[in-house]
Each structure stands twice: as structure tokens, then as C-alpha cells.
Amino acid sequence: MMKYSLYPGCSMEATAQANLKSIIAVAKALDLHLEEIPDWNCCGATVASGVVGDFTQQVMTARNLAIAEAKGLDVVVGCSSCYLSLAVTNKRFKEDEHFKAKANEALAAGGYKYDGSLRVRQFLEVVINDVGFDKIKARVKKPLAGLKVAGYVGCQTVRAIPYEFDDPEYPVQMDKLMEALGATATKFPMKARCCGSSNAIAATEIVIDQAYKIFESASEGGADVIATPCPMCQLNLDAYEQMVNQKYGTNFSLPILFFTQLMAVAFDLPADAQALSYCINSPYQALASYGVAR
């Protein structure tokens, strides 16, 4: 069994509970042991950087790494925004001695210290590299044969650390994962385009306009569903699909799922692990032929 520390992040406890539920269930099914970092705090995301600056935000983030370092396990992150914070902070600890000294000086004020020994990883990457497509295929009980999936990787997942495990402009790894589940990855030029992210509240129009382009591109490719690893992407598309339809006079009704939810379906895990009821746009019809019921 492979062991990891898990950093869930704030969204997983609120808007993206479906993500956390399916991650935990899929991990278990694949023999991956995830241990939540005790008393983790918000990473601050890029929003905090805009108020207090990168350094302060990264020191906040580092508190989580400092706590996790006691176990020495790779830190797995589900949320792409949290991943951006943790991975970039971790990289600076490893590569920038001056930063490391300053950051540890600040951490010391709270009684923490981080040596930069850990690896920060995305759950998507762990599933692909540590488990591998062959084992995933072997675990599939209900192949998603015939399901056309637009793999919406989003922006930060592949661009936080470009080329870390995929092309930052035209990623293909999640598509391969979908293929391993038996589904068909559709042509989807907007697969790495930003959804508008944190502008959902303050500048809704941005999100609606972005979401429109993404839905348009996914529909052109003939997708039945959109899959994503990112809580912001999932929420923005899921919550605003109808507003997009209103503004643009379109008729999109694509369900937006976390890739882990589709894994749970293909692995034939229980309904709670699939967490499909959290989807605003119902996925039941699209997934009906894979043993999914409301």
C-alpha cells in the first residue's frame, strides 16, 4: 500500500464535497492510503497574494507543509488552486535558499519549520504515475464504453509547474485516463482554458463568458459529459451553465463531473462514493447505461 498525506483545501469541505468523497473512495479502491494533514489551514490561494503578497501567502501555505513534514509522505492535493499554492511554495523552498531562510524565520514565529523535503503532488498525477493505466484498467468493473468525455483539465492543474507531468497547453494525460476507463476522449481545444476562477462572485460576467466558450468547444467535440480535476472549474461550469444559456441563447446541458467521480462509476463504487447528487446539472441520464441510478 502506498501512503500519502492529503491536503483537502477549503472547497472540498464546501462546494466540492463530491470531489473529496470520490477521491477518498477511489484512493481506497486503488490501494492508496491518504492521511489528512492535521489542523491544516487555508493556503490563501492567489487571492491572498493579491492582498498580502506572495511571501506572506506562501508562508501561510508552508505551515501545512511544515506539519506534514513530520510524516515525510508525499503531499497529495486535489484542488488545483491549492496545488498551485503548495507546489510553488514547495519549489521555492527547494530552489531558493534565501526564500527558505526568510520563510523559516516567519514560520518560527508560530513554532514551525519546513526543510523542503516533501513532494507536492496532484491526485490526478498520482493516479496516473503511481498506479498506472494498466492497474486502473484492471480495476474497471463497468467500462464507460460509448461515453464521450470532454477532458477539461483547466488551467492551474497543468500550468502551476509547466511540463511537470503534462503539456501545459494541450494536456493529454487525463484523456488517457478516461480512455483507460473505457470512455472516449473527445476533441476539445479549450481543454486548458481558464474558467474565470475566483471572479465568480465579483465579476460574474467573466465566468459566464469563459464558460460559454468552454461549453461551445465541448459540444462541438460531441461530448456527453465534461470531466475535470478542479473544484473551481467544476463549480463555475456547473453553477453557471444555465446563466450561459440565458445570456447566449444556447441550450447546453452538459453534466460536469470530477474525474474521480467517473472513476468511481467505472469502478462500480457505491453511490456515496460517486457523489453524483452533488451535480447541479444532472449526470444520471448521461451515465444511465453504466449502472448509475438516482
Binding site: N41, G110, Y112, C155, I201
Partner: protein
Amino acid sequence: MEQNNKPVKYDLNFAREIYNLENGSYIKQCMQCGMCAISCATREIMDYSPRRLFNLIKLGKKDEVMQANTMWNCTSCCTCKARCPRGVPIIDVMHDLKKYAIQNGYADYPQAAFYKAFWAEVAGRGKVFEGGVTARYYLLRGLDEVKKAMAMKDVGLKMLKHKRMPLFPPKKIKGLGNLKKIIKKAQEIERREAR
């Protein structure tokens, strides 16, 4: 050329101030290629592309720069940062410009209110409660925005229905006191380093 007959005048004082921000010195490396301008997810609605903004900084156009929506419309999608041929971490520069704008009273954009609300949540709890951020945001923005909120009530209702909007905030983290100390110290260090 602009209609204005009087030539604009270079004034390096503002540029120097910006170049001294945390990531500001990277701006100096900009070679005016315009890659960022195309890469931006929100390029259609930006007043100035990052390239142009950097050019205006060079020129010393403080008001134009600070009043621009460029940094506020930045979604931190990292496309420009990943592509910039000069390795300018543009989103990090945008963070600095937002922070500078807030500190210098150029915070009229709704995003600025959202940022402040978000930070207040993080600092007060150690975690973010999305409902709390929204409430704080509307308090900061005032009545006009509430109208917009009403327009979005459908979204909110749907989210509630699908268990996407917990009504109660998460517990404060146990180490909140320590976190606050860390933040305070970090800001001290940052001020020290800036000079």
C-alpha cells in the same frame, strides 16, 4: 500616435517603486513581445495587456496603471506566466499590483472588495467559508451589488439544493493563533526586505 499633441513624458520614479515590489524587478526583463496579451483568458475586457501595462509603468503613468482593470481581471490561470518568453511571473506581478493598489487606495473594482473579504475570512478562521466571503463581499460593496446578487439567486438556490453551500462555517483551525503570528512575522520580513 495618440491625438494628444503633447508628448508623454518619461518619469522613472513610479517605475522604480513598482520594480521594488516583491516580484516587480521581473518587469524589467519584459522585451515587449506581447505574448501575455494573447494568452490572457480575459484579454477582451482588459484595459491594457500586461505588456502595455509594463510599458506604462516604464513611462511612469501611475494613475493609468493603478486605475486599470488589468490586474483585477487576471484570473491567475497561469497561461501568461507559463508562456512568457522572458520568464516574467506575470500573475505574481499582478498580485503585487493588486496589493499596491489596495494599499494606495486604488481599490474601486469589485474584485478588490472580494479580495479583502476573502482575506478577512482566511485571517479570521484559518480556513475560507465561501458563504462568509460572499456575505462580507456584499457588505463591502453595498446595495448595488445586492441587486446583482438577487439576479443570481437561482444559482444560489440550486447550489443549496445540491448541498453545495453549507450554511455554517467550518471551525476555526486550532493553530489559528500561531498562524496569525506567522503572518505578522512574514509581513514584517517583507517590509524589511523591501528596503
